[in-house]
């Protein structure tokens, strides 16, 4: 089976800062990967490159054997770390928009999740609380039957109960033939769901191992290893 994501020698520089430095990695289908690192390590830069929001200075990216473009974007479902929807829109209008643009969008699944969240589809996004807005955005992303899900800080800035809901939503709606990349620094919450972990530091990959291997080799949880590696 070919890899779903192939990154070869990707580098990106902002002025004098090397945000990514010769990053190479491959991800097969059916994996949940934690993209871990402190602020400024290059997580968001890498994610933006995968989603076509940024051009690398060098290197190549192939997603499902396609370079980053319309075909790759059709199979990537991306959740940014900010509110990116027009807040004057109603929830039902946003659902209709996703259905209009994405062939793999499952409207029934989206409506089920809305019902479980007890969110009125006719309410405007701006009337929702911050937590509910993030849940709506997550619901839209997870309602797509994508091949690669990329979630940038999905549980930052929400309360612990909401975090549990978000993680349950991710796992229960995740297609096992797809892959999921979660960028976060709240590792202890995410660790139970991870198959593999990528540690990024100063734009380079320090470590890319399965969670089981990390525990076996280092005798520590991923969270404990992270704290040790990135100790200030």
């Amino acid at each position: 089976m070919s890899n779903l994501l192939e990154i070869q020698g990707v580098s990106k520089k902002y002025d004098k800062t090397q945000a990514l430095n010769d990053v190479t990695l491959s991800i097969a289908p059916g994996h949940i990967i934690g993209l871990l690192g402190p602020n400024g390590s290059g997580k968001t830069t890498l994610i933006k490159i995968l989603c076509g929001l940024l051009q690398p200075d060098s290197g190549t990216v192939l997603i499902d054997d396609n370079p980053v473009g319309p075909k790759s974007k059709a199979v990537v479902s991306y959740l940014p770390d900010k509110t990116y929807l027009d807040e004057d829109m109603k929830v039902e209008a946003v659902v209709a928009m996703f259905k209009y643009f994405y062939d793999d969008f499952d409207e029934n699944r989206a409506n089920e999740m809305l019902a479980s969240l007890k969110i009125d589809p006719k309410s405007k996004l701006k009337t929702l609380s911050k937590g509910n807005k993030e849940k709506v955005q997550l619901m839209l992303v997870m309602s797509r039957r994508a091949k690669l899900y990329i979630l940038d800080e999905p549980i930052a800035g929400v309360d612990p109960a909401a975090r549990d809901y978000i993680l349950r939503t991710i796992i229960s709606n995740f297609d096992s033939s797809a892959s999921l990349i979660i960028a976060t620094h709240l590792i202890s919450d995410i660790e139970p769901v991870l198959d593999e972990a990528i540690f990024l530091q100063d734009g380079s990959i320090k470590l890319f191992k399965s969670v089981d291997d990390i525990r076996a080799e280092h005798g520590k949880s991923v969270d404990e290893l992270f704290r040790e590696v990135y100790r200030c």
């Binding site: 473009g69 991306y78 929807l85």
Partner: protein, 272 residues
């Protein structure tokens, strides 16, 4: 996907733009009614000299006529304000959907950056055409009705007269739209330049657009002056604006700014 994007952008902007165009009709209709009253007052004292000639004694025009005449400036201001609101709304839509957080949605749709950006431009141009045609159609229909009602020597409009009028107006309208589109495209280009800067994005956009606008005015003025000089006269009229040099310049500005904007967006896009 471009057709889908255009359809979606058009639908999204329709409520606001249709409301603005409807709002436009109010001062236009009031202005036309005012003009009708003025025409009635003006021709009330007219004396028919022969079948096609009338004489009007403008010394006996009532004060109301002059008051209404002064008000026409107010209508012009109101119409300009509504046009400005329409322009601000569309430019704000362009900026919000591409350069703000909503850009994360726009640029991750299953389409190319070129299609996403071009879609917004096409929709803005389409609304500009709809706006101008709506405004001018109401104006011409209203003026025709007023002339028919109050002008004693009104000649019925024939198809050939309409064709002649359109033939005269077409170059002017073409130039108007080409000029409008090229300046809008220059603004889009300047917005992409501003986006490249870390600080003072709005200032850089405004400054660069001011530069391009001033340069455009100078070039158009120069080309027009050359055209007037070639005719061996000092007085210019609208046909001097419609000279090949101006058309070529505006076309190059439009196409050049389009490709430059697309190139910058494709190579240097970076939403904060």
């Amino acid at each position: 996907m471009l057709k889908k994007l255009i359809a979606y952008d058009f639908k999204k902007t329709s409520p606001a733009m249709l409301a603005i165009i409807t709002l436009l009709f109010i001062p236009e209709i009031i202005g036309l009614i005012t003009h009708a009253i003025m025409e009635k007052l003006y021709y009330a004292n007219s004396v028919e000299v022969d079948a096609n000639t009338i004489q009007v004694n403008s010394d006996n025009l009532p004060d109301l006529y002059y008051s209404l005449s002064n008000m026409s400036f107010v209508f012009f201001l109101i119409l300009s304000a509504i046009a400005t609101i329409a322009a601000i709304y569309m430019i704000k839509y362009y900026h919000k959907t591409l350069y703000s957080n909503q850009g994360y949605l726009s640029f991750t749709l299953p389409s190319s950056i070129t299609e996403v950006v071009s879609s917004k431009m096409i929709v803005i141009f389409a609304w500009a055409v709809i706006y101008v045609i709506s405004a001018t159609t109401i104006f011409f229909i209203g003026e025709t009705i007023i002339t028919r009602l109050y002008d004693p020597v009104f000649e019925p409009i024939t198809l050939s007269a309409v064709a002649e009028l359109l033939e005269e107006l077409f170059p002017l309208l073409f130039l108007l739209f080409l000029g409008l589109f090229s300046q809008l495209m220059a603004l889009f280009f300047c917005m992409s330049i501003g986006h490249l800067c870390k600080k003072h994005k709005t200032g850089i956009t405004a400054l660069s657009y001011t530069g391009i606008a001033i340069a455009s005015l100078i070039i158009i003025y120069y080309n027009t002056a050359v055209c007037v000089a070639k005719r061996g006269t000092w007085w210019w009229d609208l046909r001097d604006l419609w000279c090949p040099a101006n058309l070529i310049f505006l076309f190059i500005l439009l196409v050049g700014c389009y490709f430059a904007t697309i190139k910058i967006m494709n190579k240097k896009l970076n939403l904060e």
